[in-house]
């Protein structure tokens, strides 16, 4: 089982802090509108708790994330509240993308997105990979998908 690059924690923590800030501002705005009695410290506390939960979530998520190229399928497991193990058979891979957002790019990371024709888990994302690892995974998956190509079912 291969785990993600440890720097992905930073990506998630940054994301969690941003969300916490937005939440704190939203709560502050709502408070101004509706009650306007809470002390500023309470609002800061809301932000801190949200950030704390987010950071904890990020750390646990990192420790649980894993993926593996098995002989017939890409296998992934992840999740904090709901733990999910997913198999994506290579035959079912429609196409594979590599992509990165601004934070990921700044930290030198990249994601691989695997698309299937399914309805619920139609796209599976593996975040937090070094760009060269992402590129290699993309190539491998593409080759495996082509190699195992039968008649597609759609």
């Amino acid at each position: 089982m291969e785990s993600l690059h440890s720097r992905v924690r930073a990506v998630w923590i940054v994301r969690a802090v941003v969300v916490a800030c937005v939440l704190a501002v939203a709560v502050a705005a709502a408070e101004r509108w509706l009650v306007d009695t809470l002390p500023a410290a309470a609002l800061v506390a809301v932000g801190l708790v949200a950030a704390g939960v987010g950071i904890g979530h990020a750390l646990v998520l990192y420790s649980r994330w894993g993926f593996e190229l098995q002989d017939d399928a890409l296998y992934l497991e992840r999740g904090v509240v709901t733990f999910v193990e997913t198999s994506v058979p290579f035959v079912r891979v429609q196409h594979v993308d590599t992509e990165f957002g601004p934070v990921e790019r700044a930290l030198g990371l990249s994601s691989v997105v695997v698309y299937t024709a399914g309805s619920r888990n139609a796209d599976v994302t593996i975040p937090g990979l070094r760009p060269e690892r992402a590129r290699r995974l993309q190539d491998t998956l593409r080759d495996l998908a082509v190699e195992s190509e039968g008649e597609d079912a759609v």
């Binding site: 017939d72 399928a73 999740g79 509240v81 709901t82 733990f83 999910v84 193990e85 997913t86 198999s87 994506v88 058979p89 035959v91 079912r92 299937t116 024709a117 399914g118 309805s119 619920r120 888990n121 139609a122 599976v124 195992s148 039968g150 008649e151 079912a153 759609v154």
Partner: protein, 522 residues
């Protein structure tokens, strides 16, 4: 390249003319109120100009819209200012639907829609073509789809050229010697039972909208209907008891109205339903006022689902739905194969299609039932708490009657658990769930896209897991992905592994058969 039916030129011309004439009308009306420079009598000169321009646009659009069947693609060219050329490979076509409204039927017109798997939209809509042309297109696309499908290369019947001639636009619907083999027809009794036993939640929207736009008349009706129950004489200034009576009676009448609208809707929609088999396709038609007909290539079918509600179960009836990966006007790739019939008949249909006689279902462990009991008890407690709060704050009478909800929890938990089931067959996985709308999905292993084992915090504590079997069926919000709920973790893992293995096996078998075929042909 062919054009749409000439009547389309007229409808488009008129449609755009009216639309474009109304734009200056509204603009001038609004602006003349705001600015002194703009005068209301400009309408009389600008609206006719808009009318003429719109008419011209509509006419040009008609002439610029062309379609053609090539050897392996359906080609569509359209657009006045920005042109679009679209080619749809026949191999990718999921279904071809023809629909006819009342007016269209009188004029001998039809709308043809062509669906493929991708995209959130119908890929090609021909509005309007002649009825004969529509039927010819539907048949021809079906034939070409079959021909272009490599897997179906063995189906010799599919390869011979279509014996039917393309009809002249005037002689509508004369040709048709490739009559489909009859499979099922909804008779009067079944149609009646279907209408009466189907609750359409979406019909409540109709009732709500009608009430909302009914104004004082609707309000008066609602109030007068509530009077016998002790409702208020006027909306303002009534006692809490009267408001409660009003709310209760409105909910009751709303439910009855929703049910009646649903009955009518279902009756009109499924009147004259019939389905048959033509070559490698299932073809169906239905509808009293608006007539729909469509074709589903059997090769594209993803899953079959037997659907039944408690009423239908009680009288021994069930429905069968077919899911493909297309999108369509009617919930897309989810089509009724049998709206309602005796359960045994539905089972025979499934047996013919898949070789599965009947399911021998395993249930999740009883721990799962305990989990539902806890879940429903929490919901019941919340209801009682809410009612209690309403009783204290607004003086809602008899709020403690809501304690009855607690009794519902064990019943609900048992019913949910007892309706769950799964069965691993040779080539198919059977998944059953739901009490109010029990679905039994028949999923061929060959159609699996991804398999996931999911465990929430609560499930982890009880050592349970849910298995989500994803296929390429349409993405609708209402119909969930087939899921086996709350298995023991070890069972879930072993089925997970099994599914993967059987997909691999099915694929290999298919590939071998295909190779054998191509050898036989060379």
């Amino acid at each position: 390249m062919s054009r749409l039916h000439p009547v389309t030129a007229l409808t488009k011309t008129l449609g755009y003319a009216v639309q474009w004439a109304s734009v200056p009308f509204f603009l001038v009306s609004i602006l003349s109120g705001a600015f002194d420079v703009v005068r209301i009598d400009w309408v009389f000169s600008l609206a006719p100009v808009g009318f003429l321009l719109g008419a011209a646009y509509g006419l040009v659009e008609y002439y610029r819209f062309e379609y053609e069947l090539s050897e392996d693609t359906f080609d569509l060219a359209s657009g006045v200012f920005s042109r679009r050329d679209r080619e749809i490979p026949f191999r990718r076509v999921q279904n071809v639907d023809v629909s006819r409204g009342i007016v269209q039927r009188l004029l001998g017109l039809a709308v043809v829609s062509i669906e493929t798997a991708g995209g959130g939209d119908t890929e090609a809509t021909l509005r309007y073509v002649g009825e004969g042309e529509a039927n010819w297109l539907q048949r021809e696309i079906r034939r070409l789809t079959a021909e272009n499908d490599e897997i179906e290369a063995d189906e010799q019947e599919g390869l011979e050229p279509d014996p039917t001639e393309r009809p002249e636009p005037a002689t509508a619907g004369t040709s048709g010697d490739r009559r489909p083999t009859h499979l099922f027809e909804l008779d009067q009794v079944e149609l009646g039972l279907l209408s009466l036993t189907t609750a359409k939640l979406s019909a409540s929207m109709v009732v709500a909208v009608v009430t909302a736009f009914g104004g004082d008349a609707a309000l008066g009706l609602v109030l007068s209907l509530a009077r016998p129950f002790g409702g208020p004489a006027q909306l303002a200034g009534a006692s809490p008891l009267e408001y409660a009576a009003l709310a209760l009676s409105s909910a009751l009448y709303g439910a009855v109205a929703t049910y009646l609208v649903g009955v009518v809707y279902t009756f009109v929609g499924y009147y004259g339903f019939r389905i048959g088999e033509a070559g490698d396709d299932l073809v169906y038609e239905r509808g009293l006022l608006q007539r729909y007909s469509g074709s589903i290539p059997t090769e594209k079918i993803q899953t079959l689902s037997i659907v039944e509600n408690p009423l239908q179960r009680a009288i021994g009836y069930a429905g069968l739905r077919i899911e493909t990966a297309g999108y369509g006007p009617d919930g897309g790739g989810n089509q009724s194969a049998i709206p309602l019939a005796k359960r045994s008949r539905v089972e025979r249909f499934v047996a013919r299609a898949t070789g599965i006689e009947s399911g021998d279902f395993d249930r999740p462990p009883t721990v799962a039932r305990r989990r539902y009991l806890v879940r429903y008890s929490v919901i019941a407690a919340a209801i009682v708490a809410a009612a209690g709060a309403a009783g204290i704050v607004w003086g809602l009478p008899y709020w403690y009657a809501s304690a009855l909800a607690v009794l519902g929890a064990p019943v609900g938990a048992h019913l949910r658990w007892t309706n769950l089931g799964y069965d691993l067959r040779e080539d198919h996985l059977l998944v059953r769930e739901g009490f109010w709308r029990r679905r039994t999905h028949v999923v061929p292993y060959y159609r699996l896209q991804t398999v996931s084992t999911r465990r929430s915090v609560f499930q982890r504590r009880l050592g349970l897991a849910s298995l989500v079997i994803d296929t390429a069926s349409s993405r609708t919000f209402v119909r969930g992905t087939p899921t086996i709920h709350d298995l023991s973790l070890s069972t879930a893992r072993s089925i997970h592994a099994d599914c993967r293995e059987r997909l691999e096996d099915a694929r290999r078998t298919r590939a071998r058969e295909e190779r054998a075929l191509s050898v036989a042909f060379t």
